[in-house]
Each structure stands twice: as C-alpha cells, then as structure tokens.
C-alpha cells in the first residue's frame, strides 16, 4: 500500500504535535494561509491570535520562561517576519528557547523582491541561535526536529525556520525523526573533573568568597544545588537580574541583586572578595561596572555552558564549561566524600563585615507629597506575596525598583528583559505567562512609557480571557532616561516627558477594567479590586515625577562607587 502523503502545512502541525507543543502565538498572512487552513481542521494545537507579531514572540518567551518549555510563534513573510526581530533578539540575549516559524514567498520568487518578501534568514542571522530556510518539503520534519533540539539544548535560544509558500503545499510522507544528527553541535554538559576539584579547593581555602548566581542557574534548574552548595560552604550569594529566584532572597546568605542598581553590600562584597564564584552569568557591564577595576584582587571561578562567555569580559582563573546543575551536583558529591573543614573564624569575620555593609541603604526620597512609586511597588510586593505572583516587568525605573523590592525565593517568577532591555516586553510576556500557568496571579508592572509600546495586546487578553494585572507606574516621564538627564545632562529633559491616554478609559474601551490610584490609602483596595476582577486590569498609579532609582553605580564606574541618595555628589 502506498504511504499516505501530507502537505508541508500538515507536516508542520504534525511535527509540532510530535514535539509536545499544544499552544502557539501567531498572526496569519498571505503565504502561510495553508497552515491556517490546516489549523482550522484540527484541535490538538491551540493558536492565540495576537495584535502585533513582536508580541507573539514576547508572549512565546514569557511562556518559555514560566513553563521551561520552548515557546512557539508563527507569522507570515515580509512585515510579519520583520516584526519578530526584537522578540527574537530579546530571547537570544537572555537565552530562552523559542522556535519562530516565518512564512516566505514561493521558492521560485525568492530574491525577486516579491510582495511581502524579506530575507529573514539573513536579517536574523546575528540575533538567533540558528536559522533555516526550508528548500524541500522532505527536509521540513527533520528541520523542525533540529530547531527544537538546538533551541532547548546547550545555552537555550531562539531558532528561526523560514518556510516558503510552495513548501507548505507540496506533499510528502511524514516521518518525524527520533534523533538529530548535527556533527558540529555538541554542547558540553559535564564539567571537567580536574577543574571541579581545583575550584572546590579554591572555594574551601577562600577567606572572603562570594557567589554570583546568574540566569544560567535558572535555565539549568540548578537552584537547589546552588543553594545547597552555598549553605554547605557558608558562602554569601549575590544574584544578577536574570538570576533572580535562583537563591532564596529570604536566606541570611542572600546579598540580593548586585550591579548598577544592586545592593550596596552586594557590590561591596564582590569588590572585596578574594574568590568570586560565578555561575551561569556572562558578566554583563551592568553587573561588573568598570571592567578594569572588577575583580582586580580576586580569583574568579566561572561555570558556564557557553564557552564564549568564559573570559569574554572578565579574565577567569578556573573556567568550567558545563551545565550548572551537572557541575554543581558534582561539586556537592565531592564535598560529601570528604570531611568538610570550614574555617569558621575567617567566615564569621567575612559575614560580619558584610553585616556592617548591610547598614548602608539607599535613602528613598519623594520630592513632593504625591504618591511615591517606591511605596506602590513595595505595597504590591507585600500584599501579593502570599499569592506567589508571577511578576513581569517592562524596562526602566519601575523594573529596577521591582528587582530591588520583590524578594524571590523561587525561580521562574520574575520575568524581565535583561540583556536587550526591551520596552514593551512585559505585557505580551505576561500574556505568555498566563497561558503557561493558567492559575497564577500574573502582574505586569510597567512604566507609562513601556506599556504604550505593546498596549494593543489588551485586545488579545480580552479575546482569550487572559488575566493580567497591569500596574502602570505613571510618572509622566521616561523615568530612567530622565534620571540620567537629571544627574548627567544638567536636568535637560530632552524628549523624555511623555503623555499617556487615560488608562482607565482605555481599559474600559477594550472591555477591561481600569482603576486609578492617586493616594497611598487607595493602593491596597485597588489591588484587591483588580484581583477580584474576572478580566485583565489596568491600574493607573499616578505617581511623583522625579523619584530616582538608588543605589546607583554610574555607567563605567567601579562597583564600589555607589550613590545612595540624590544629594550625594557624583
């Protein structure tokens, strides 16, 4: 009997099913109509129609961040594909697994400037982990298998699959490969045993050690191992923005976030450490400050799955290429085989020193009697804490305040754009989070600038009943840029004053709920009302215009040059 033949569009859906994908975000268009036709005739895969392709990719990333599974976006050729770039770049920088499927004009039209044609493989080359142009329907299933494999293994990242129109209508048999053969791609998971022993020796002998925990710990699911090791060796842990939740912030060993807007004591501990043990971080300039002055007097041990991250910015004494979970487990195993002699005297001295530094805190200053943004975020944290919310943020002052205020004990609950710093990321990511965890309380804490970059997604939320509570910290400015202008550009607020629509009316126009808060006593009632609502909500917190984020290490300054208040001279 002849084998059954399927169109490329059907093979696409069957392959997604084989990968266990059941929810995707997308936007239809001319060249991928055959896929939408195939979608119409099946029930296995649920498609969410967004309002902008960029949001589809951010939503897929939000989904991936919360669920730990790869996010999938489907868009058409040309403008649809071009609109995905920011989303793809965002996932690439922060290392989250996505597979983005783009439509393409027919193979005989490629390169002819056809209607809605864009060379998306060329355009995305530098901002994705890998990409494919499918040139034969017989390759489609294999390519999809490889795309998911590459996206989810090693350092995760986005993979783009470009599918010409005629490939989607051509027919062939369907055999989903059970394994991939990629001779040039073999991520290292297991750390080198000799390096691991050397690292342990250095850590045990260290007088003033500190751990920097990054997003790689979260990706590897290594938070338990990291916590155990830190506790066994009594080493304090600072986390990066992406590493939030990888070490319980309620632990006495937690130093909280380090870096540009990190805690004074976290930065001081890193500056004065004799051994820095960095796990799954790429030493971004936002955490190192002035590179030349970073770790000048300390030895550095660095675990990373991506060899490129090692000695890229900071020169490393003991590099360990491998998966954080794997390497940290090996370290714990080795520690358990021998009697552990911690030099308590030295450790206590070090931890006491850190306690002294902990007394130095940023001094909150609200220049007028208007509602303080910090107060709003603090109240949001305190009130929602028992509900274990998934907190998404946009980018700017509110993001840093959230990173400082929200203490996280678990990973995958703080969703923010770190590396690329994408305004407009939070709301669609929150949508993806709501899809990934349908029972979670999902907050998107936003600035009045950021929220207007993807505000159209409120329509998507209403269509599918996603509940996202958007807490707009509305200070009338692009606050972070304004903060730099205030301190560094003589208070010349060039193009940073920004107007907004009436968010309450806007929410209502979409059929959502809108609440305005201008007084401190109205914060909690508003949060309660929002939580009780059965749809997405906008809370417009009208706050002070000129609050600043402190602590603040100015760009290019060493980490111990921390400003703690606005009155401090730079």
């Amino acid at each position: 009997m002849a084998k059954e033949l399927f169109t490329g569009a059907e093979i696409f859906l069957k392959s997604l099913e084989a990968e266990g994908v059941d929810e995707i975000f997308g936007y239809p268009g001319g060249v991928i109509l055959t896929i939408y036709e195939a979608l119409y005739n099946q029930k296995a895969i649920k498609h969410y129609l967004v309002r902008h392709e960029q949001a589809a990719v951010h939503a897929a990333e939000g989904y991936a961040r919360v669920s730990g599974r790869p996010g999938v976006a489907l868009v058409t050729s040309g403008p649809g594909a071009c609109n995905t770039i920011t989303g793809i770049a965002n996932a690439y920088y922060d290392g989250y697994p996505l597979v983005v499927f783009t439509g393409q004009v027919g193979t005989n039209q490629i390169g002819n400037d056809a209607f809605q044609e864009a060379d998306i493989v060329g355009i995305t080359r530098s901002c994705c982990k890998h990409n494919y142009l499918v040139k034969d329907v017989k390759d489609l299933a294999r390519i999809i298998k490889e795309a998911f494999y590459i996206a989810t293994t090693g350092k995760p990242g986005p993979v783009v699959v470009d599918m010409p129109k005629d490939i989607l209508t051509a027919k062939t048999t369907f055999n989903y490969p059970s394994e991939v053969k990629l001779v040039g791609y073999n991520p290292t998971y297991k750390g080198h045993p000799l390096q691991i022993s050397k690292a342990l020796k250095m850590l045990k002998e260290a007088q003033r050690p500190v751990i920097i925990s990054g997003g790689g710990v979260l990706q590897a699911g290594a938070h338990h191992e990291l916590t155990k090791l830190a506790e066994m060796l009594e080493i304090p842990v600072a986390h990066t923005l992406m590493g939030k939740g990888t070490f319980p912030e309620s632990s006495p060993l937690s130093l909280g976030m380090l870096g540009m807007h990190g805690n004074y004591w976290a930065n001081y501990a890193v500056v004065h450490a004799d051994v820095i043990f960095a796990v799954g971080t790429r030493f971004n300039d936002r955490i190192t400050g002035c590179l030349k002055r970073f770790a000048r007097d300390s030895q550095v041990i660095h675990i990373d799955i991506d060899p490129c991250s090692i000695s890229k910015n900071v020169k490393v004494d003991i590099p360990i290429v491998g998966d954080a979970k794997n390497v940290l487990s090996s370290m714990i195993d080795e520690l358990c085989t021998k009697a552990l002699l911690v030099d308590h005297k030295a450790k206590d001295k070090w931890l006491n020193q850190i306690e002294e530094w902990r007394k130095k805190r940023a001094i909150p200053e609200c220049p007028s009697d208007k509602l303080s943004a910090l107060k709003v975020i603090e109240t949001l944290y305190e009130y929602t804490k028992p509900f274990k919310p998934i907190v998404c943020t946009e980018v700017g002052q509110h993001q840093m305040w959230c990173a400082q205020m929200f203490k996280m004990d678990e990973p995958r609950h703080f969703i923010t754009s770190g590396g690329l710093g994408t305004m407009g990321f939070g709301f669609p990511a929150a949508m993806g989070a709501a899809v990934a965890d349908k029972n979670a309380l999902v907050l998107n804490i936003a600035g009045d600038g950021s929220i207007q970059m993807n505000i159209q997604e409120l329509a998507t939320c209403m269509d599918y009943g996603f509940k996202v509570i958007n807490c707009v910290i509305n200070n009338g400015y692009l606050g972070m840029v304004r903060q730099w202008q205030e301190k560094l550009y003589h208070k010349h607020y060039s193009e940073t004053k920004i107007s907004s629509p009436d968010f309450v009316k806007l929410a209502e126009a979409y059929g959502a709920k809108g609440i305005r808060v201008e007084k401190e006593e109205d914060i909690i009632p508003a949060i309660k009302e929002a939580m009780e609502a059965n749809c997405s909500v906008f809370i417009d917190f009208v706050v002070e215009n000129f609050e600043m984020v402190y602590p603040w290490v100015l760009a290019g300054q060493p980490l111990n040059k921390v400003l703690l208040s606005n009155s401090q001279e730079i």
Partner: protein
C-alpha cells in the same frame, strides 16, 4: 598586540554557511585579510581559510564564537602552530622588448612560471608563501603590471 592569524575552519557544505562565518568578523569590526573556500575531499564539508589581524584575546573569542555556529565542525588557529601556507598569484605584464629577458629571469629566480604569452602580454603565476610572493612583487613592479590577482591563503598544519 595585533598580529596576523590564519584560521582554518571546517564547515558543513551548505548554503549560507560562509555568510554566517563572515558575519562574525564584520559584526565585531574585524577586517578579513584573505579568504578561501572550497569543498574538502568529502563534498559534504568545506574548508574556509581566513587570515585576519587581531590580538590573541580577540582571536580566542572569535574562535569560540565560530565554534558556536551550528554548521562549524572545527576551528584551528594555525598561526600558533607550525603550518604550511600557500597562495596563488597571477600577474599580467605588458613587457617591453628590451625587458623580456629581465622579467623571465626574475620569474625563474623567484620560482614563478610564465603561463601565457600573447602579443607583448606575459602572464606569470607564482604558488608560494607570503615572503616569496612579496619578493616577486617588489622585483616585478618596475616593469609595470597590468593586472594582479591573488587567491588568498590556504594552509595546513605540519603534523
């Protein structure tokens, strides 16, 4: 300190691989001095040989990033090893009658070959290393060359 590095990169022989490799250089502002590409004996793979000026840290980073590309199988920095390098150069000269002997003698001593002669146009070929090629260029310059083409280096390690 920037020095010349010769990178030998083994890749799968498929469309778009060269642009992925070249993009890594241009994206970081490095200039590629020479570039050669051809399939290996097994036509499923190609070898790309690139020479570039960079300091050691930058080259180490470039090599790691090249490794990160999915179609890249192997990257060797041949400058750190003893390696054999060759390049093909073709030079087209319009030689005056009185200079013919001198040009032929230069070709002979530098190991170059005359591969084509038409009316007053001599084309010479040299297959050699950088030093020898440079010597030939200096010697031949005074006789006025019309066209000059060089292949870029290919290289192989000695052991």
């Amino acid at each position: 300190m920037s020095t010349i590095h010769t990178l030998s990169i083994l890749v799968t022989n498929e469309a778009g691989v060269l642009s992925r490799v070249v993009d890594l250089f241009s994206g970081r502002g490095y200039n590629i001095e020479t570039l050669t590409v051809a399939p290996t004996i097994d036509r499923n793979y190609s070898r790309i040989t690139i020479t570039t000026f960079a300091n050691n840290e930058a080259i180490e980073q470039v090599c790691k990033q090249l490794h990160r590309l999915i179609p890249v199988l192997k990257v060797s920095d041949l400058s750190v090893n003893e390696a054999l390098e060759r390049e093909v150069v073709l030079i087209k000269l319009q030689v005056k009658d009185e200079d013919v002997d001198k040009v032929l003698r230069i070709a002979e001593v530098t190991g170059a070959k005359v591969i084509d002669i038409t009316d007053k146009i001599y084309t010479i070929q040299i297959v050699s290393d950088e030093k020898q090629i440079q010597a030939l260029i200096e010697l031949i310059k005074p006789y006025g060359y019309k066209e000059f083409a060089r292949s870029g280096k290919v290289a192989i390690s000695k052991n």
